[in-house]
Amino acid sequence: MTVASPTDFEPQGLQPQGWLKYFSFSLDHKVIGLQYLVTGFIFYFIGGALAGVIRTELTSPISDFVSRETYNEVLTLHGTVMIFLWIVPVVNGAFGNYLIPFYVGARDMAFPRLNAVAFWLIPPAGILLIASYFVAGGAAQSGWTAYPPLSLSTPAIGQVIWILSVLLLGGSSIFGGINFIATILKLRRPGLKLMQLPMYCWAMLGTSILVVLSTPVLAGTLILLSFDIIAHTGFFNPALGGNVVVYQHLFWFYSHPAVYIMVLPAFGLVSEILPIHARKPLFGYTTMVYSILAIVVLGLVVWAHHMFTSGTPPWMRLFFTIATSFIAVPTGIKFFNWLATLWGGKLALNSAMLFSCGFIINFVFGGITGVALAQVPFDIHVHDTYFVVAHFHYIVYGGTVFVIFASVYHWYPKFTGRMLNEDLGRLHFLLTFIGFNLCFTPQHWLGLNGMPRRVAEYDPSFTTLNQVSSVGALLMAISTLPFLINVIWSAFAGELAGDNPWKALTPEWLTTSPPPVENWVGEAPLVTHPYDYGIPEGKIDLRVASGADLWFGGKR
């Protein structure tokens, strides 16, 4: 493919136009962002269907809906799909690609071609993973953690395909991370300072640093694991003199930061959404930035809190308990800053705001159980029980997925030029919020009372709460219907949005909806601080316009 040079820049039909461009190797960051978003949602529905199988099986204490082996496969696929094919690509790839070039005042990412490669690694990896269900022996059965020796004794072909798929997705993630770091640090328009960047840039910078530092370690570990499976080496095989705890250390060196890779971008997105719909500046910008950086640093040194029952020595337990508890400080700062942003604001309780508030409520709950889990005496009691499952889903579903929905309601007008239906949006929120809490709150009790995770059968005394949880899961499944109807119907018949329906100040709103190929007609608009909402009339010009006339070039 050739890239048109400035002199012969004409629409040359090098790439498909119209809707076809979304199926092409497009280099436009906005097209790539939407490719990530839609692909992510397809895998979300696949992963959701797998969760449906799990919850259906767990309505009764015996293994009746699917066999135990199938349950293990479904469980493994659910975790892997949701983490590597839904959350990570969507909060990083989709919104990152769409928004970051706008926020730094660039016309595209630093490496557009690498960007397209990073996206196009995802569909084959996803298809590979799902297809492994149909190979001899079935899909991987050892959970998303693939702990040896379990992953060495379950059917090998599925496990190797799982490794291959995760390696491809890890590669995609690393390429994306390199691109974000280069774009944010190197492509800022002249004069735009780091401390003037919208918060999502900081979140993506922190996330990308974690991606670049930790994902390669997982890749190396999985390569060693594949040697153990294919070549019968003994790195992680105790029978051959290997060491399983080393696998756990290396795995969690990636997979604990992975939690922040999933939730830090959500912090950033919600920090964009709240000020706009509360018509107030983001409270404590500087503390927000330093909190993100503190979470990045601390996030790299807490991994062994997943291993308190793996024979970790006392000094290690002490260190990792303290480090983990410390993360509550920057996270708490962010939480209270969001509350302070809302305090006294002119709140618009639209769908984006409702989902953002849902995020705050769910996330603080998941955060508190997280601090509890960091304490060794408590963790040893609930390790590998449903308490951990509940905590984790409060963070990634109650936290990140709520923010993804909030972001879709917030940025859909920019993506398509049309508004989403607010009534359907509020119904979606209500069903999701009730369904989610109904599904996962009971699991805290189940875990505290000793119900182990990842097992298809359980003690009959746990039946009622499991059935309550499954009803919640059913509600969550139903809640996607108004959402799906909304996004499809509104794309064709939704109310026209105009360029800046939320009267926002961040640069993506200062262009047409949807934006032109290189983001702005003419020069990029001027920027000062991104959160100057609620400035008295006359001091700020909020005329809806695309171009420099909106952005006042002066000082505050």
């Binding site: 004409e10 040697f227 007609v521 003419g522």
Partner: protein, 219 residues
């Protein structure tokens, strides 16, 4: 804030005006400036490569951490040991370290306009890299253990093999650079990103080997 005045930021006016002439330019598929044409923004390619090498270095760091932990806590079966023959690997280390200097000479020759000397030094670097790989092969064939014999054997082959893969890739890259630096090729005295990228990568591979040599052979 005059520094933010429109027009001061982007020299690539031609691409801009082409777009400005067509306000709703959804029709354009490819952005006007891709990886080859930087359209007025800074060239971030070396920075991107350096970031990638940080990631690559973390893969090695993971392997090193695993190896050191194995060595600290996992006893080997009776009759095998962590001791290795030192002469050949030491010569190999010297070859690789020298090759970093020869590559550097190639780069400085190119920058001072002596393209023919640059190409000679590149070939010299390739020769040293190939000699290193050959030495590695000789060592592999003379070792008393195979891949699956014990934990140390597996770790040894994984570490040196992964590094050897990097050296092989580096040699291929240098050959490409050597070809591109010919008279009328795309690498010139003024425009030599390919050479700088290959050089950065080669120094990285070299540095990794020094660490690897230290913990695998000397420790």
């Amino acid at each position: 804030m005059t520094s933010l005045a429109p027009g001061s930021a982007n020299p690539a006016g031609a691409a801009r005006s082409a777009i400005a002439a067509e306000p709703t330019s959804q029709a354009h598929g490819a952005p006007a400036h891709g990886a080859d044409d930087h359209g007025g923004h800074v060239d971030a390619r070396l920075f991107g490569l350096a970031t990638f090498l940080v990631a690559d270095g973390m893969t090695f760091a993971g392997f090193f951490a695993a190896y050191l932990t194995f060595r600290a806590v996992n006893p080997l079966p009776a009759g095998s040991s962590y001791e290795l023959e030192l002469i050949l690997p030491t010569i190999n280390t010297a070859l690789l370290v020298i090759s970093s200097f020869t590559f550097h000479r190639a780069g400085s020759n190119l920058r001072s306009g002596n393209q023919a000397a640059c190409r000679s030094w590149l070939l010299g670097t390739v020769a040293l890299g190939v000699a290193f790989l050959a030495g590695q092969m000789v060592e592999y064939f003379n070792l008393p253990f195979g891949l699956t014999d014990n934990l140390f054997a597996s770790t040894f082959y994984a570490l040196t093999g992964f590094h050897g893969l990097h050296v092989t890739l580096g040699v291929i890259c240098i050959l490409i650079v050597w070809w591109q630096a010919r008279q009328g090729g795309r690498i010139t005295q003024q425009d030599h990103f390919g050479l700088e990228a290959a050089e950065l990568y080669w120094h990285f591979v070299d540095g990794i080997w020094v660490v690897l040599y230290g913990i695998l052979y000397l420790l």
